[in-house]
Assembly symmetry: C2
Homo-oligomer: 625 residues x 2
């Protein structure tokens, strides 16, 4: 948890249903209503006897970025032709019924028709399909619809696998699913493979969150004996994410009015840890030097082996990653963002807990991952929170009074009653916005130190050192002030410095200047809410004209969709994963130098940020050199 | 059951543990000791209230043909060279450990070494193997032994599948198992795949027997709702045979002092129904016209999918069959008997419940199956029994007194005390012997009718018509006479006629005479105990010189062994299954004519049995023309 067990962040609040066995040492961050409802801070509570404790479903209630939308129109970079692009095919087949003159076995009979009618030779089938074969053929009087997987990435010359047999005439729909398993959020597209249409989408918090917020804590949990489940920490994490996936499938198929067993293929993007966990592969080597995965390009796995509720024989195709910290989310993102479709020098970013980035054009790609930490996700910051209801998502500071003004992610309920939503904390975009405004208006200097000379009541010496008050307690939900402390500011500067240093090292390693970048493609849901101007002003993003930035949303999910629909794009993802050169920053002194240089606002070398220098000059504020 | 529920055969005896709820209508065939022990004839007992009923494990106690022997020397028709013949291979591999300069994932690292060191390219692995990969590599400091399946019959150009990773130095043994699933008996060879040696063998009654003795009753049970198990009759039969297989594995591996998870491959022979049942494929179409299987050549299936306790990723390779009633036992038997290794015109037989036979040479093969019924297995005959302790296995009749003399399969316990074993009934070889002796000595005529003119006390009018007393009640275990009735004789003649008609139709269909047959290869455990002379005298086997008959024992198991050891022989089994022309007798009038002609002793056309004609002439017995 962000505060490290000091009772300050309130993120570990749990409900003690039978409170007789526990003693609360501190109730800071809990309201009297919370206490009445049984809440306790887990880190501050001593268990002295029997107690029943529940992890509250807060996250579900407060969802915002995690949105479910019906039938978002998704644009494909090709005109979809299932016969040409789609490895899953439906074939209506009519067999001659056997008689005493032709006692050919059922399977050979079906194979014969598939070969003569459709030129589909060497058809194979799994045992569960063969177990149904005789019954289905006879039930439907030897006329059926065959669901065939024509090829997979590891058998590009054709696998011709019979996945299912349907009653005759079942040729109207063929379903697939594209999935992105984020550390925080799992997102799904339900796709009609005959039309290429995304029929519905669904998203949900990754059920693994309760066992750790970031990949590192999940890896530690996977390897620990803290799980009460019989399959240990790894088994529990595998079950948790599969639980989330099945919930999404249930929701999506209910909306589309189909059965989840009608889904015959799934492609999966995600970082390397998420892919390891969903496959039940031990992730421990990802965390330990030299940071190696078990497998970057897993084979297709039948859904039944993972417990995913689609057709049991459907292949779950986990897309290939590049390295431990540049996973399938990035290789899928590169394809989803169409980064390679142009010869322009392009920078692709996916900023979350880690900042992963790829620089290149259609001929070469180089990538790295920066351990930015979870500051921009609201963790590691005193009043940080996720981008849910009550989060301050944008801040403006009056350049004369230093009074802040802000916008809060509204509660739909309060909004419908015409009431404002009281703020609860600061989310990532709010923090970027706040940091930028403080810097541009001179509330902090380029080193991030608060300027007490301004005499503003918003700048004070707090319990934990200097801090700036963003919202007074009389405005806030929990009646406490919402502040940003010098420690928070340091954390944010370190995070942005790590990311910018990544850009710098990538560019330097291939001998280009960041100013030569022609396009910046920003993936990930976080990217969608960033204010470019402010992100540039703090030195998080390179100082390029705004029109060069493109916010693409969930590029990993888009990549998974393209790989689901089109075998050529599936191949492109493999090629991208092969082609991307991975730069290991922890082994690189250049990175450390670049990081140190970036530990200022916007940077030690302000010539790299000409637009920011101009703004500062205009405001006549502090010297920036 | 043989008597069809008339309370006469005693085969349905069960133990009623709490007898208050049942009423015994007849206790014929039960001794007072049996009654005291709670035995009841299931077919003659009415359940009138609660009762606990147990199927007694008699068969296990009375085992004889089902023998377990340690390390029988099995001869191979080739000099075994694992590097050339064996698709399962052990590779010692040493990997460079990863470092910051080479962060290649574990799997690619292993593949790289396998490709460069052993030219094993495109290695694949199943998910459970990948799940152990990282841990095993690190535990053994990057030196391991890879267990690789180089190819399978359906991927002859190479599958290169990593089946397991062992600690370094584990290169002394590599285990496989060859299995024959008979309707009655399941037999197993445990084989060292590095030397080709059969290290131990084990055999056991097929656990499915309690759900029916022959394939037809098993098929009916599979499709019925009589099973109390949640997976229905089919699931129960699948579990029962897998239970037997696992028992054999447990026994064999205990003797060899290995773990069953060290077995990396299994080949399986068996008739089509047994193969369907072990795979869990519904067998109902095998029984119903036009008698079609679901699949004649099943794909290799991981042991874990079947519940067979060898290495979970080991392939279980069920050998290919020809048709519903000419299964993998026959195609394996053709290879196991080396029928095709010679250009001699050869007849291969496997006589059990069905008489299956193949005629041909190295260029062509034609087969058929005759529904002989279970008479030669001791069923369908009043005093018939299996070839276990107490069975009369050979009979001699005095040509002047018509007094019988016989040999009984001894009880080892009684034998060790110097005591004779009292007879309990007649097994197949005893019945053949008895029928022949009765015929040659004129006790019956060529139509099988008892000759009352002889005035022998052994020939009498019994309760169920004319009968010949083989053993008086004062000699027998159950104190009742052991007899053969006219009905029994008719059944036996019909059975032998069906088999001989099969030979005749096969020969006729390809335009050869049976007398032209150069070799008769007899497979199956039944064959081992047949007296050729007597089998020829009743017209069961064609009248050929004795030296042309070769009794080969379990040719199906031998075929499974060859297929296990040598990929070329595995291919030969497939080729045999493809090459064998199946003649469906039930659609053939020629068969009916041949059958009718064979309903005499030895045959309507005695010129086909010159040696028998000679014996009859010598004895001066009845006219045979």
């Amino acid at each position: 948890m962000p505060c490290g067990g000091q009772g300050r962040c309130g993120r570990c609040a749990v409900v003690v249903q039978d409170g007789t066995g526990v003693r609360r040492r501190s109730t800071l961050r809990l309201t009297s209503d919370d206490l009445a409802a049984g809440y306790a801070l887990a880190c501050q509570t001593v268990v002295e006897g029997d107690a029943v404790v529940t992890i509250p479903p807060q996250e579900k209630i407060e969802r915002r970025l995690v949105t479910d939308k019906t039938a978002t129109k998704v644009t494909l970079p090709f005109i979809y032709d299932p016969a040409q692009h789609q490895p899953m095919r439906l074939f209506p087949v009519e067999l001659d019924s056997p008689d005493m003159a032709d006692q050919t076995d059922d399977w050979s009979r079906l194979r014969r028709v598939m070969a003569t009618t459709y030129d589909v030779s060497d058809l194979t089938a799994d045992l569960p399909t063969l177990r149904r074969l005789g019954i289905v053929l006879r039930e439907h009087n030897w006329a059926v619809t065959a669901v065939v997987e024509m090829d997979t990435w590891d058998q590009p010359d054709g696998s011709h696998r019979l996945v299912d047999l349907l009653p005759p005439g079942n040729t109207q729909h063929l379903w697939g699913a594209a999935l992105d398993i984020g550390t925080t959020t799992v997102s799904l597209y339900l796709v009609d493979l005959l039309t290429g249409e995304v029929v519905t989408k669904a998203a949900e918090y990754n059920g693994q969150i309760k066992r750790g917020e970031d990949v590192i804590s999940r890896i530690i949990f996977a390897n620990s004996n803290k799980s009460s489940g019989k399959n240990g920490g790894l088994g529990e994490l595998q079950s948790l994410v599969v639980g989330t996936i099945n919930e999404l499938l249930e929701r999506a198929t209910r909306r589309a009015k189909i059965s989840s067993s009608e889904i015959y293929k799934m492609t999966v993007a995600g970082n390397s840890t998420m892919i390891h966990l969903v496959l039940g592969l031990p992730p421990s080597s990802i965390r330990l030097e030299p940071f190696v995965t078990t497998i970057n390009h897993p084979p297709p796995v039948p859904a039944s082996e993972l417990g995913i509720n689609i057709h049991p024989q459907a292949n779950v195709d986990c897309l290939p990653g590049v390295a431990s910290y540049v996973g399938a989310d990035i290789s899928a993102g590169v394809i989803g963002s169409q980064m390679c479709d142009s010869s322009s020098l392009t920078l692709f970013l996916d900023i979350g807990t880690n900042g992963e980035m790829v620089l290149g054009d259609c001929d070469w790609l180089i990538s790295c991952a920066c351990s930015a930490g979870p500051a921009f996700e609201g963790a590691g910051v005193r009043d940080g929170m996720r981008a849910t209801i009550g989060a301050i998502e944008e801040v403006w500071i009056n350049s004369e009074t230093y009074e802040p003004n802000f916008r809060v992610i509204p509660s739909p309920k309060l909004e419908s009653q015409g009431l404002p939503t009281p703020p609860r904390g600061l989310c990532g975009s709010g923090l970027i916005s706040l940091l930028s405004e403080m810097f541009i208006n001179g509330v902090i200097d380029k080193g991030g130190h608060l300027n007490f000379d301004l005499g503003s009541p918003h700048i004070r010496q707090g319990e934990h050192g200097p801090e700036y008050i963003v919202a007074w307690g009389d405005q806030t939900e929990h009646s406490g002030d919402i502040v940003i402390t010098n420690v928070d500011i340091d954390n944010l500067i370190r995070a942005k410095a790590a990311i910018y240093a990544g850009f710098a090292v990538l560019a330097q390693s291939v001998g280009v200047e960041l100013s030569m970048v022609e396009r910046v493609l920003v993936g990930g849901s976080f990217g969608q809410y960033i204010n470019i101007e402010k992100a540039v002003q703090i030195g998080l993003l390179p100082d390029l004209p705004w029109e060069k930035f493109h916010f693409l949303g969930n590029t990993a999910l888009q990549g998974a969709l393209l790989a689901l629909l089109n075998r050529e794009y599936r191949q492109h993802v493999s090629e991208a994963a092969q082609m991307i050169t991975y730069l290991e920053l922890s082994a690189d002194n250049t990175f450390y130098d670049a990081f140190t240089s970036a530990l200022f606002l916007p940077h030690t070398d302000v010539t790299q940020f000409p637009s920011v220098a101009e703004v500062l000059a205009d405001r006549g504020g502090q010297s920036v050199r």
